[in-house]
Symmetry: C2
Subunit: 636 residues, 2 copies
């Protein structure tokens, strides 16, 4: 699959954008007119720079408001088009995007459009230019891709084809199957964009909220499957108008963009394989040989990635701190056992049942360089996941452009494959075992006696704060590199603003990772994050923790009154909840009990008990947690 991206997706100057696209590995780019008009580079400079960077210049765009106009505008439009065709010759470009008319269309006649597009195609032919005509979802008379294609067929000129843009098609909920019947020679270009399902006017939605494939809710693999089956083999190019991407670091956004196309390519191959398999959805994983062969019938080559199943669970969580005293105290009070220090590194291992915590004794901060993002106050630094094959999983992540972070190690020590997540948390891939143990733990506490089987406990979920620039990127990252599935989105009020919360999870819920979008005026790592452990009997656990002196997050009495009004709990149970600062939730699937510890640095801990098939996180209680934590921060 030839990959492309429109310069409008990125921040910075045309030069910066082109360099970032080359570094991220794109095959080609679309030049957005405004990026050229505002650039000090001449068209010849741009042409040479693209050649030097190994980028093809695939599409010049957009040319607006051409068709359906009255007679006096035709000549002016053709004059304007010819100026652009001459410019394209200097750029060495041969394809221009022409959008269906929004502003100046005054005559609704397909005959007239065929005549006018024919004139444009003839002029384009004189200049060796190919015109890709696209139906904008809000085009005045042409807003449907089949209508645009019908006009192209009617003109029947070698220099006129259509451009298919997934946003304009899927935002209107149009069936994409008819694409398969299109003549591939008439599909001049394909643009892909994803978007969250929003109910707002389609123009605002398009201009501000598009995201890269895999970051939204459109069925893009299916769209691409139809495009491949039609026989199209040209560039598949991103055209994403997004308020955040426009403000973010250009190189980083380009890598996020490239990841989305690599992922889309794989998903498209899977969709084709499943479809060729009679729609059983067995796909690549179930003996992909036949399906892959059937894919070879199509001109577009689709590369696939090393295949991984979803992770089997958390292997460990790691917290880093210059002063580890507070962490040691809290873990001890939670019932964790100290399993010893690592034989060569300044790290400690603590465990409770199958929940393993590493305390990384970071060097104290050098005051001259200390800032909020590089604090050495306790913070979540790394997460280990159990996967079937760490090497395959690492190879997949690397092909998805995840930056590698190999863990330093000595001889005879286990080497973890790892990579950095968008929020800089380190993700390590570990070999899971059927009994829930981990071989690497033998590197800790030589001479220490291992504790007997303790209480049943596992890491239930981890909650990471995401900076606003990287929230969508993080969703795609965990989807594509770690095979987690995004769950429905929630918003929780807090005293400093709404917190947007995106759960990523495995189908069996063995791994639950919560991404919280911190309010704008808060930075990653100053915002509080946490690790939650699941136990069988929360009330008993809480009593034990209390006896060991744990500092619970204090829940206001008003909460329990409201709980009673909402649920009508048995008085004894309600009193127990209140006595132990436990929070409670209930839904049709089951019940949820949980409590929080006080915060150490930017980390706190949660203990949960899930009763029945309760699948949530106590969202109705989150505002209480935020409010109490905020109150503590104000007064410490």
């Amino acid at each position: 699959m030839r990959t492309g991206i429109a310069t409008v997706c990125l921040s910075g100057t045309l030069k910066e954008k082109m360099q970032a696209c080359a570094i991220a590995g794109f095959d080609g780019i679309e030049i957005f007119e405004q990026d050229l008009v505002t650039s000090p580079l001449t068209p010849e400079d741009v042409r040479k720079m693209a050649a030097d960077l190994g980028l093809t210049l695939d599409l010049y765009q957009p040319f607006r408001d051409f068709d359906s106009v009255s007679g006096d505008l035709v000549a002016a439009n053709l004059r304007r088009a010819e100026a652009k065709f001459k410019l394209m010759a200097r750029l060495g470009m041969d394809t221009i995007l022409v959008c269906s008319n929004v502003a100046t269309a005054s005559i609704d006649s397909d005959d007239l459009r065929v005549e006018q597009l024919g004139q444009l195609a003839a002029l384009a032919g004189d200049h060796g230019v190919k015109v890709a005509y696209e139906a904008l979802a809000w085009g005045k008379y042409v807003s449907d891709y089949e209508h645009a294609h019908k006009l192209v067929e009617a003109v029947d000129h070698p220099n006129l084809g259509t451009c298919l843009d997934s946003f304009h098609i899927l935002s209107r909920n149009w069936d994409t199957a008819p694409i398969e019947a299109f003549n591939p020679d008439k599909i001049f270009f394909v643009q892909v964009a994803d978007a969250p399902k929003l109910s707002m006017d389609v123009l605002s939605w398009s201009r501000h909220y598009r995201v890269f494939p895999g970051e939204g809710q459109f069925e893009l693999a299916k769209f691409m499957g139809h495009v491949v089956r039609a026989g199209y083999s040209g560039p598949v190019s991103l055209e994403i108008f997004n308020d955040v991407f426009r403000q973010s670091d250009v190189e980083r956004t380009a890598v996020d963009a490239m990841r989305s196309l690599i992922w889309l390519e794989e998903q498209s191959a899977k969709w084709l394989d499943a479809a060729s398999d009679g729609g059983t959805g067995a796909g690549i994983n179930a003996g992909g040989g036949t399906q892959a062969a059937s894919r070879r019938r199509y001109p577009m080559e689709l590369a696939t990635l090393p295949q991984v199943a979803e992770p089997a669970g958390y292997n460990f969580a790691e917290v880093r701190a210059a002063d580890t005293k507070g962490l040691e105290t809290v873990l001890g009070q939670l019932g964790f056992e100290f399993n010893g220090r690592h034989r060569t590194k300044d790290v400690q291992l603590w465990s409770l049942g199958h929940a393993r915590m590493i305390i990384n004794e970071a060097a104290p901060a050098d005051d001259s360089t200390a800032d909020a993002t590089h604090s050495t106050a306790p913070a979540i630094a790394a997460l280990g996941f159990d996967v079937a094959s760490p090497v395959i999983a690492a190879a997949r992540a690397q092909q998805l452009k995840a930056p590698a972070v190999p863990r330093k190690s000595q001889a005879n020590e286990e080497v973890f494959q790892g990579f950095a997540a968008p929020d800089s948390t380190e993700i390590f891939l570990c070999q899971g075992t059927s009994d829930g143990t981990a071989a690497w733990t033998s590197e800790f506490g030589e001479g220490l006696e291992k504790p007997a089987a303790g209480p049943t406990a596992v890491i239930d979920h981890v909650n990471l704060a995401q900076p606003w620039q990287h929230f969508d990127e993080a969703v795609l990252f965990y989807t594509s590199a770690l095979a987690l599935e995004p769950q429905p989105f929630a918003e929780v009020p807090s005293p400093t603003g709404l917190v947007r919360s995106q759960v990523m999870a495995t189908g069996d819920r063995a791994v639950r990772l919560v991404l919280n979008l911190a309010p704008l005026n808060q930075q990653r790592k100053t915002y509080q994050e946490h690790i939650a452990f699941a136990v069988d009997d929360l009330v008993a656990t809480a009593r034990d923790c209390k006896a060991r002196g744990l500092e619970f997050l204090q829940i206001p009495a008003n909460y329990y009154e409201d709980l009673d009004a909402r649920f009508g709990l048995a008085p004894g149970f309600l009193a127990t909840l209140q006595e132990l600062n436990l929070l409670y939730d209930r839904d049709a699937d089951g019940e949820f009990l949980h409590f929080y510890t006080a915060t150490v640095g930017s980390v706190f801990f949660e203990m949960v008990e899930r009763r029945g098939a309760y699948d949530g996180y106590g969202a109705p209680n989150a505002p209480v947690r935020h409010a109490v934590q905020y109150d503590h921060l104000q007064h410490r």
Copy 2:
């Protein structure tokens, strides 16, 4: 008018919110349930604190999903309601908001609703509670305020009334005139919210984008006029769900909120007066005596403010800098005359025609406290406006809670009335004169000879960058305190994100002020701002500036090619534009020529020539300006 505000409008804890409301001068508040549930304050604490702060507790809210339910839910809902009634007794509150059912409604029957609301009213009566029933715009069966009122009338119980919320009524475009016929004894509460006109689902619109009155586009004065005429005299309370306000400084947001009600009170009085005047719109300004008398017929008292006309023009603009050399050079090259130093202060006066610039020689920055927002690099510090009566205008601004900034002065010097705008720019009110001179200039350059009448020039517009937290506040501020009118909103792409641009102007365009919402990662005063001067002959002016060595912002050649493609300009004219780095725009009303200087600190200057009735700012050229400035910033 009794003023109120719901605690959900503000950031922080319940205690912080209550304190901020008292400081801002509200009469009462609505307690949003979640703020109480998450608070460590007992209901008795809240009651005492409100009394100590002089705040009435006007409304407990919300109680959700009561009506239209099937039999088994009725008892549970009444039980839940009774728990809240008891809580309200402890809070000393007597009114609760009950919203029309969204989630659990299953039976669409007005008879059933009358029965269920009757049961609720009877229970409320037992506890001395008044139930204010409100139609949510997205209520399942009840979404229309007239429907809600009809149910209230049918129940006919002294403890059941209705709550009118402007958002739920105006978001659905419902006629507000029928409110006048409502029995005032059945209107238990009135909530007001404004909103920008957005086409999105009404729930998202309501939950995220409400703004304070005067910051959106709803006809609130008319809504309030009908409410007053109905005979309602209870609290008028703000209920604003806004993502930004939730994150902003609580005391500041409370003042913004209070300002919006003061302004709404005045606008409502004007609407009533105009309406009583037979709809001529003559209003308060045209001999308000009679109308004010007619307003006295209604129980609600509406206070008015000192009345001002819109400002007649800019009197001066002031730039502050520790090192003034660069500014002096640019102003000189632009053709400004140095009129001398002030007799007692470290400020210089420069002028070009009627455009006056003050250079304030700020003390050099103390490095230990220097930061981006208190830089002493050249920055726009103050604006002077010509008004009919500075004292009346200052009194009005003060009543609208504008923080005063009296200018220090010696004997025999003019004292400017002034106040600080939300972005901290100082606004001074000056006495305009018919010949465009200013008396205070005689305090400058003693002994210097005044220049003879120079070229015709005026300040055309000033462009100020606004931080994201205070954009809506700034719109209301300039609307209410300075009588500027918000114009339609624009968005301009820049290399670091979309720039949102809000023009505030007088009807005759003598004052044009552009508020730009800087991209999120840029701070006020590091983002570039500018002052534009209008001249009669821009080409001649540019030639003179060039001869004086002015550094123009360099416009890329690609821009002129595109200009030619768009407008087909005469070759000689196009060559002149390109030679002099002039930008050009044209619309149905006229033409616009302009150029920019290089940036000094965070300030640059623009020279413009308006031909015909051109009323814009060259918006199509703004991306070029942003891109070139960005490029310079990267390379300096």
